[in-house]
Amino acid sequence: MILDEKFFDKFGVEYSPDEIIFCEFEPGNEFYFIQSGRVKIVKLINNREKTLDILSDGDVFGEMAILEEEPRSATIIAADHVRLLKFHRDNFDALLQGNPQLAYKLLVIFSKRIYDAKRRLMILLLDEPQLKVMDVLNMLSEQDPQLDLQDEISLPVTVEDVASWAGMAVEDAQKELTHLSRLDKIEILNDRILVRNIRDFQRVVSTRRKNMYS
């Protein structure tokens, strides 16, 4: 959803490629709408800069600042020339009154983020590295409704991504993935992982989850 351009006079800000919009851990009081252009969400993980996502026009970021001040959870960097609308928390009510559509959109965004965070927690709470890696693949398969889960599936994910989702060191994730690959359960390519039978992984993980607390 692109907000009315009339807002731009009052709330518009522009950034050049590679400029930081805000930095992880700085206090956050504003949230942003992308009117045009793209931004990168990055985080320093194990002393390396990692891009988590790219957002483009119609997207919202910094929304955790809507209700209270909280350190930013990631750094946002302009990927090209971007035009943004920047709203302070104090303007939120006025903005909502004038743009109820926006409110609906925010509810959807929060619903999704809550689910994603919970899903990640489910992975992290598994007690074996092997299961964590399998469940990362399960999670990724759930995110793409186009996939035919009866068949071999291809997930656009690297070993580093899997490690980061599973909260593991890259070497450990590599070890587990290599093991699965030796059993011919998966095939590791440069930029993707092929899973022969994801249903298999789903069964293994869900059985373990059921038994974990009994």
């Binding site: 320093l44 209700l67 001040e69 350190p71 009510d93 009154q97 409110a103 609906y104 619903s111 909260g167």
Partner: protein, 401 residues
């Protein structure tokens, strides 16, 4: 989301017999519900303990919202107890409904945002990150990373922000040196240098200490409260609870049939005290604890304790003032408030929470034995609920630590 505007059946009421399942966990559906009359219990599994959690939906409250909006499977099973009437709507009905009432949306956003925070916090703690986050140090570290990585512009941004927020911070000198070196063009550029070993966070402040204290206000909110409570939309839901814990609107109970969401149609009966209490609750949600405390003190001074309703308000206000003090770092005052709840109102719904908070205060003060004694009292206090569970895990932690 405009489809179905004409052909949509619209919001309709459906009556369920006792024991009916409205939906099962893992079902996929776009329907959203409001409980009109009867009882609905949501059963979910806590991800961290595997424990089954049951939550009652309050009348006038939405349920099934998040999974419908996010288009993911239901995370809980909804079952009726006794003959029950619910209003059913699809996403476009829901959208139309809430567009007319921004207040409902604001409440929902608040609840969602609290839930998200809590889950993110759990993720961090599982990853072992929770006790180590010091924003000033982290901001410094980011500046340093970009500095060493030969990205002076990014480094400059983080370093300048550091100086803006923490001009007297413990890394300020090093930060200024780096800013000057970037300004004079001496900073590393181009190729990636191996980042220097960052200094460990200074031991002066006990970070976990603070986070423990703030935990109390998040996790030990009162369970379902009396009608006078203003905490409908505050954080009393457990982490796994899928109950979309907000009331549809004050007015909806009275106006279910015409779905009027105009403000102020149903209420108007609120006494001055309850209003004060609600205002305090709002302020607490905004972390304005000092201001909330002032209102709570007014309540404590003006309540007629012989009136049972007002006495309830007094108990609540006393407990909440303890929470405010805790959040303001005034442990002694918090202790006094919680102690009074336990002593004067042992039957109060907040007695257990108060015991737990006192245990936490002792724990934060490194008085392990006293903390253990109070956590044990919590544990021995029926019913076995979330707080018991939390007390149990604190005891285990203290005994192992």
């Amino acid at each position: 989301m405009t489809n179905g505007a004409a052909g949509s059946p619209g919001i309709r009421a459906r009556t369920y017999k006792s024991g009916s399942i409205i939906y099962f966990e893992n079902d996929k559906s776009e329907y959203i519900y409001i409980l009109k009359s009867g009882r609905v219990v949501l059963t979910s599994i806590k991800p961290d303990t595997g424990e089954e959690v049951k939550d009652d939906v309050r009348q006038g409250e939405f349920f099934g919202v998040k999974s419908s909006l996010g288009k993911y499977p239901r995370e809980e099973t909804a079952q009726t107890i006794g003959e029950t009437v619910v209003l059913i709507m699809n996403l476009s009905d829901f959208e139309r409904l809430i567009l007319k009432n921004v207040n409902v949306v604001r409440k929902m956003l608040r609840v969602f945002s609290n839930q998200l925070r809590r889950i993110v916090k759990m993720n961090r703690s599982v990853l072992g990150e929770s006790d180590t986050i010091k924003p000033d140090y982290e901001l410094y570290r980011i500046g340093e990373y970009y500095y060493n990585a030969g990205m002076p512009n990014r480094a400059q941004y983080a370093l300048k922000r550091y100086m803006e927020y923490y001009p007297d911070g413990e890394y300020a000198r090093d930060v200024m040196d780096k800013i000057h070196s970037i300004d004079s063009g001496e900073a590393p550029t181009g190729e990636m240098n191996i980042p220097a070993q960052a200094p460990a966070p200074a031991p002066g402040r006990i970070v976990s200490d603070d986070s423990d204290l703030s935990d109390f206000s998040l996790d030990v909110e009162p369970e379902g409260e009396s009608q006078t409570s203003g905490f409908d939309a505050s954080g009393d839901e457990s982490i796994s609870s899928e109950m979309d814990d907000f009331l549809s609107d004050d007015s909806i109970g009275d106006n279910l049939d015409d779905f009027s969401f105009d403000e102020n149609t149903g209420g108007g009966q609120k006494t001055y005290i309850v209003e004060l209490y609600n205002d305090a609750a709002d302020l607490m949600e905004q972390n304005s604890y000092s201001e909330a405390l002032e209102l709570l003190d007014q309540i404590l001074q003006s309540v007629d304790q012989k009136n049972p309703d007002e006495q309830k308000c007094f108990e609540n206000a006393l407990y909440q003032s303890g929470l405010c003090q805790l959040n303001l770092g005034n442990r002694k005052e918090a202790f006094a408030a919680f102690g009074r709840v336990i002593k004067d109102f042992p039957q109060s719904d907040f007695a257990k929470n108060s015991l737990y908070n006192i245990a936490g205060i002792f724990e934060a003060a490194n008085q392990r034995d006293k903390a253990l004694a109070y956590y044990t009292r919590v544990l021995n206090m029926p019913p076995k609920d979330d707080i018991s569970q939390q007390a149990f895990s604190r005891i285990k932690k203290l005994q192992n630590g």
